[in-house]
């Protein structure tokens, strides 16, 4: 029997996730600035409200709600109307206040979730928790605590995290949070033929099969679009892939105009 899914509304991504995220899970989306983490998260909320009858909450630790609502409007998502209709709440707060709030009984967030019947939540971004603890073990515990609180409230969560590496090098050493979350999506920049492309990879999805290939994606006027896998190259996640032997041979000897 297929487990129920929480579709993100991003066609290619839902296919990679075997239909969508699993209900009541915490899902980490990590990427460099401009890779579309927040757009993916907003699309998840928009799809929940408009297509799945699942109201949502966005916790933002940096971008002001008024700016986030404006950005959503650029993709045709009317977050202002969703808020007016009681289907969405965009909360500006901080990691320390959020943790203090979820630790108590019937806190502000929990009350608000009950009031609007929220089923989805976005936390943008978890990177701000890093200012609460320098020790990676303590940071992992704080992340674990937040994730468990969101699960206790019955929410399916998308948590964004910044990765300062634009190309190539990966986060290392302090990556304990990747073990705590249920799924881990990586958004990367890739340089091919002197042009920057975007690549998406599902690194893990606990309790479910998922695609393991690396897909191209674009940020369009209506949100993220996940497209075909990268063909004819390897080393995509290094940021600077090289052609496979077959493609290199074809480029060298079979492509007209090349020697």
């Amino acid at each position: 029997m297929n487990a129920p899914r929480v579709p993100t509304g991003i066609a290619g991504l839902d296919e990679m996730l075997a239909g969508g995220l699993l209900p009541g899970t915490a899902n980490l989306v990590e990427g460099a600035p401009g890779t579309g983490k927040s757009t993916l998260a907003m699309q998840f909320i928009e799809h929940g409200i408009t297509a799945c009858d699942e109201p949502g909450v966005i916790l933002t630790f940096e971008e002001f709600p008024e700016h986030l609502i404006r950005d959503a409007a650029n993709f045709g998502w009317d977050f202002a109307a969703h808020q007016a209709a009681g289907r969405l709440r965009v909360l500006q707060t901080s990691p320390e206040v959020t943790l203090a709030d979820v630790r108590r009984t019937s806190g502000r967030l929990e009350t608000l979730i009950e009031q609007i019947g929220a089923r989805r939540v976005v936390v943008d971004s978890l990177s701000h928790f890093e200012r609460l603890a320098a020790d990676p073990v303590e940071l992992r515990l704080l992340g674990f605590e937040l994730i468990n609180a969101l699960k206790r409230m019955g929410l399916t969560a998308v948590l964004t995290r910044e990765n300062p590496a634009l190309l190539g090098e990966m986060r290392e050493g302090d990556d304990d949070l990747a073990y705590v979350v249920d799924s881990y999506l990586l958004l990367r920049y890739v340089e091919i033929d002197s042009a920057v492309h975007k690549a998406l990879l599902v690194l893990k999805q606990r309790g479910s099969a998922h695609a393991t290939d690396i897909r191209q994606y674009a940020i369009t006027s209506h949100g993220l679009e996940v497209r075909s896998r990268f063909a004819g190259t390897h080393g995509i996640m290094s940021g600077t892939p090289v052609m496979t032997h077959t493609e290199a041979f074809a480029a060298a000897f079979l492509t007209p105009g090349k020697k």
Binding site: F64, P65, E66, R89, V90, L91, Q92, T93, S94, E96, V97, A100, D101, R103, R104, G107, R108, L112
Partner: protein, 130 residues
């Protein structure tokens, strides 16, 4: 000269009496005006004085007493979470509607001039208080 000043004061008082009272009693500093503008634009904000000061680009030492005053005056609500003092916009519908009227009125330049006049007068009165 005194007559001119009276005329100017009369002109500046020519605004909605509810908004005039709001300016005289609650939004009577520019910091409070900044705070109210921020909460009006981001009504589901819940945060500490330190973070709120950061959001409006002001010094927390200046912002904190103003937040306390706004909470006392019913514009904001304050609660203690663990060891944090957290401020949110009031849930009182009447006050929210009044703040909404104020922010809408601020779209009009003539109103803004009058509002600035009243805030400056309040600040001057505060400074001259023995």
């Amino acid at each position: 000269m005194a007559d001119d000043q009276d005329d100017a004061a009369q002109l500046m008082d020519d605004i909605d009496p509810h908004l005039l009272d709001l300016l005289r009693t609650r939004i009577n500093t520019f910091i409070k005006w900044d705070v109210v503008r921020f909460f009006h634009a981001n009504p589901h904000t819940a945060d500490t004085a330190e973070n709120l000061a950061r959001y409006i680009g002001r010094d927390v030492r200046v912002v904190e007493p103003e937040l306390r005053q706004l909470a006392q005056d019913g514009v904001l609500e304050a609660e203690t979470l663990a060891d944090l003092r957290v401020y949110t916009l009031t849930a009182d519908a009447g006050t929210v509607a009044l703040l909404d009227s104020f922010m809408r009125a601020c779209d009009d330049r003539q109103f803004r001039i009058k509002a600035i006049y009243h805030v400056i007068r309040s600040l001057r009165r505060e400074r001259e208080r023995p």
